[in-house]
Amino acid sequence: MRARVRALFRLLSLQASWNYERMQGIGMAFAELPLLEEVAYGDAKLRHAAIARAAEFFNANPYLASAAIGASIRAERDGEPSERISRLRTALCGPLGALGDQLFWVGSLPALLGLTLLAIAWGAGAWAVLGFLLAHNALRLSVHTWAFDMGLTYGVRVGGAIQASWLPKAVAVAGPAAGFLVGLAAPLSGAWLLERTPTRGGLLIASGIAVALLIVRRIGWRLSTAEVTLGLLALAILWDAAKGLL
């Protein structure tokens, strides 16, 4: 039990040693060490082989990676052949990545941020920020432990078990919810930032944005909107400084 808690805590640092060759591999092995010591405590050869497997290439969504650790620990305990455990880990990368990215990165995270921006626009201030942190981390940590336990329970059959769980349904809802809340938050947030601006100025900015968006969509710039904005701001600041020198 203690090993499980230690592994789950270590897994919060999964991506610290991220690199283009093994990606999250070393982080996975680091998190798995306490569990592997339990599985193969007597047999050094077995343990070394398991650690080497654990450190191989791995890359999934960091919030769902615990499922892969749970499943491979189960497979190691069941004495599955080495080749099969490696295939299990390789197979889990992509799908756990895709599910987690959809659930968190383009789902609950933008949805909660949209809500936070809305609450700020309605005057909630720093409380909205605190609420965001609590909600996001409660969700993230409960999925983190849930996924680990799913892996540990179902082993190589974890795919079917997750597919039959609440998760794909949540993924299907998370995307549209994120779209709706970000759509709702964007103009209201803008209005909040411009609340001390006269209406004429506000309309001018709104039309500027519309034109800029159309241009970007038209020619499909390689530059992000942030980079373009930075360029414009830098030009304006430089121009002002040069004017002072003249």
Binding site: E21, L113, F132, G179, L184, G190, T225
Partner: protein, 225 residues
């Protein structure tokens, strides 16, 4: 401008913490600009400004899709620096310069992340025989030293950001007219970024319809107000 030693040190520590949070530990999302900015404003004695700067940079950050191994800007330490640049100025005309500092540092942050990953790769390559042999001690050492490396990266990045903030903070226009123009530019860019990003990631179907519904609802609420 309020540049007390304690405020500066607190901002440095906070910037380091949010820098490490982005990818390394514990990914609790304190690196989000709206969180990093609000806390930075509070630490530096200007919570109002911190919240505003946080929201503007959050709108830019929502345009970023951290999927797979793609490269992304690092907005955490950048937001701390952006808030520091504007401390003590009225937010209405400090926002432009703050945003410039934040966006510039987010790109420096992206570059620093790539350097970090390159170093991590070199360290892993050097130890690849030990990794294939399943040496637990090597795994531990590689991982924890990479974590330390990211802490150093975040500290240096925040330090550089605070320096830039100090330099550009002095450029915040005394005359509200020009400052206001810069702020409008920043806010306009931020709204364009969030809408562009939302449309791009919605792409087709149901999600796009919900996005448009939210958008329409928002406009109605603004007009009714």
């Amino acid at each position: 401008m309020i540049w007390t030693l304690w405020g500066y040190l607190a901002a440095l520590v906070w910037g380091t913490a949010v820098g490490v949070d982005l990818v390394s530990f514990p990914q609790a999302m304190i690196a989000r600009p709206v969180v990093a900015g609000t806390v930075a404003g509070w630490l530096l004695g200007d919570p109002l400004l911190g919240l505003r700067v946080g929201v503007v940079l959050e709108l830019f950050a929502l345009d970023v899709l951290p999927i797979g191994a793609s490269r992304y800007p690092d907005y955490g330490p950048a937001t701390v620096a952006a808030v520091a640049a504007g401390v003590g100025h009225p937010w209405e005309w400090a926002l432009g310069v703050c945003t410039a500092v934040g966006l510039a540092m987010s790109l420096v942050g992206r570059w620093s992340l790539e350097q970090l990953r390159r170093r991590n790769a070199l360290a892993a390559q050097a130890a690849s025989a030990a990794l294939s042999a399943g040496d637990a001690e090597v795994v531990r050492r590689l991982h924890l030293s990479a974590l330390g490396r990211d802490a150093v990266r975040s500290l240096l990045l925040t330090g550089a950001g605070l320096l830039l903030a100090r330099l550009l903070g002095a450029k915040i226009p005394e005359d509200p007219g020009f400052g206001q123009v810069l702020s409008w530019l920043a806010i306009g860019g931020a709204i364009a970024a969030v809408i562009g990003g939302a449309v791009r990631s919605a792409a087709h179907g149901r999600r796009l319809r919900w996005l448009l519904a939210g958008f329409a609802g928002s406009l109605i609420l603004i007009l009714l107000r």
